[in-house]
Symmetry: C2
Subunit: 210 residues, 2 copies
DNA sequence: CAATATTATGAACAATTGTTCTTTATAAAA
DNA sequence: TTTTATAAAGAACAATTGTTCATAATATTG
């Protein structure tokens, strides 16, 4: 959120764009400078070196809550919303598509994931583990309240999370080729709908058994 | 499948390893040559230039059937297997984990996906679309035979495919950090099991309705 | 205003890059 | 064996890379 101003800000955002588009290694200092509209040597008044720009972007990424599925609310506050909660979460993924900045960060993350171990740690802990654990907690509470059928909450969390991630990646890929993303974008909501229908305890059916 | 012999083969496989690990751009001709055990200039007796090595790898990838979920069988041949079919497909994804060559190709594909439009076309057509279409066909037939509940077959295909892809990517990432993949590897089978249980038509329950 | 810190320029450097050239060794074909 | 294609080595080149330096312009501060 809190960013710089003036030239430093321009360098930062230009570098992020280029890193996300072509990768860190393929982006040159001259290219960044040219796009910002300054001499390459002027960059070094704002950043120590190229790696410093990269580290700054990673820092930003770490404090960005790239995907914060509960918007800082606790599982026990929200689990009762049931289907609506799942739809909200799916929608948060979808919204990234329309938020230019988050979209860039996500593409940057995917671009450099296999080249940067720091990014892999971030991806695992802050992106994957954190969200899956929250989802597990939510599903567990739903089970206790007999809103959904009892199974392994962690499996359920993975099964709910993974399509959302996949659809996100699909859209990022489509955008890279300037292809339409509308069809893929509908899958977020469909997934939440489908998933809920499959795990919920159907009270009408339940009644017929008694 | 059909590969070269001697030095050319060594150059090819060394380059693939390095490209998959560090990315194309970060890998130098000197590094390849050193690992093969020859002079850098000797590479040019086998490949026109660096890009020629890349193109050769992509060609190999295109003829490799990276993920061929039906092993060349037609949907109508296999759909009757029901749950077993889904488990087989999940297992094909899992097996990549243990096949060194396919594993390298997959990591290479993910590494270079956003840098190479040719790879994106391959990913989309041969990896994603092809498999999802086959899955759609299978699910459609299962619906007609009243093996599973009726919904949008394409949605079902996406929902079944995406966790498998995600778990695959997870394992590739874990391997990059030499972390254990055993927990993630169990998710393939669990996914197939879970998914089938959710979409199948329960005949015992069905009977009680009549 | 004057003094000082900040930011820009433009040229240059040293290292690394992919690639080519000539020459020598090796293998295949006659 | 002789001839000829193939593959290797080793040096070198030209381009590109990140980075530094001395200097000039611009803001900031006293």
């Amino acid at each position: 959120m809190s960013e710089f101003k003036g030239t430093k800000q321009k360098i930062y955002s230009t570098a992020l764009s280029l890193f996300a588009e072509q990768g860190y290694k393929s982006t040159t200092m001259r290219q960044i400078a040219k796009e910002v509209g300054i001499q390459q040597s002027a960059i070094y008044n704002h950043f120590k070196n190229k790696e410093d720009i990269l580290d700054t972007i990673i820092q930003q990424l770490e404090s960005s809550h790239l995907i914060n599925i509960f918007e800082n609310k606790e599982p026990q506050e929200v689990y009762k919303k049931g289907k609506l909660l799942l739809k909200n979460i799916a929608n948060i993924f979808k919204l990234i598509t329309y938020d230019t900045k988050t979209d860039l960060l996500f593409r940057f993350l995917m671009q450099e994931l296999f080249n940067n171990s720091k990014l892999r740690v971030f991806y695992n802990e802050e992106f994957y583990q954190k969200n899956v654990k929250k989802l597990s907690a939510v599903f567990f509470m739903m089970m206790q309240d007999e809103m959904i059928e009892a199974t392994d909450p962690l499996l359920l969390a993975n099964e709910f999370f993974s399509p959302l991630f996949f659809y996100q990646l699909q859209i990022t890929r489509l955008k890279a080729d300037n292809q339409s993303t509308s069809a893929a974008a509908t899958l977020f909501e469909k997934h939440a709908e489908f998933f809920w229908n499959k795990i919920k305890i159907d009270n009408s059916k339940k009644d017929t058994l008694f």
